[in-house]
């Protein structure tokens, strides 16, 4: 996760040297980390196994 986060951050900073509002750069960071988490979830076999809240 940390590698995905850092790599995406480096890419965003390189591609947008004039942007200083960090909130406009975080989208691809979240996407990269989410993709990595999803790969791990698939490897662990835990997809579709969340307990459904009864409420």
């Amino acid at each position: 996760l940390r590698i995905a986060h850092r790599t995406a951050l480096e890419g965003e900073l390189r591609d947008h040297p004039d942007e200083y509002a960090m909130v406009k750069l975080v989208g691809p960071l979240i996407d990269a980390v989410r993709d990595t988490v999803e790969q791990k979830i698939q490897a662990f076999g835990s997809a579709r196994l969340a307990a459904i809240p009864s409420a």
């Binding site: 996407d31 988490v37 662990f44 835990s46 579709r48 307990a51």
Partner: protein
Amino acid sequence: MGRTRTHRFAVGAFNAGDIETFRAIAEASDALSAPVLIEASASEVSFMGLRLLRSLVDTYADEFDIEVYLNLDHAPSIEAAKAGIDAGFELIHIDLSGSDHSLSTDDIIRGTKEVVQYATSTGALVESEDHWFSGSSTLHPEAISTHSQPAKTDPEQASRFVKATGIDTFAVAIGNLHGAYPTPPRTGFRASESLAGGALCQPQSPWWQWDHRDSGPDRSVGGHQQDQYQL
């Protein structure tokens, strides 16, 4: 934990020390309907704070309607573990052997037991081990050397440790390492199966059966509703 054995799956524990990572884990859990643990290391706790971690997990659990629990990752001291319990973390990893390699097994057992005892106040599950994990969570350009090869868990020794401490889960060493290496470590899942087959840990509380919204642990900081625990 019973669910993971019945359905043969593992629940990932994902470290989060910033809001982007929190959001990414919540989105992945939501997209795949997967239960997840979010965990914070000592340095992540030091930056984020226990209360903020707890409230972020609660907020994302509500907003995304996901099954998510909070783990204190490698708590380096009894005090740190107790603070995590007080903050309402569902899982506490007390890693005394990792923070001080010179501690004797007796010292580790004594300290771990103290945390297990304290955790009964909230029903938090306690994870520990009597050996420390090698590696550090960074990129390692070097190949895995004999220096970084972790000791493998000895099933007999582990069983004694579990019985002596009363921990709920055991942090097993089967060749796993912290950090990223040019080639992945060789893990012995067969060894892990034989450890699990020995029924090392029999958690007292049906933690995985908690409905995380209604009968789970008290998530309010300060623990004002502790009498509502159904453990």
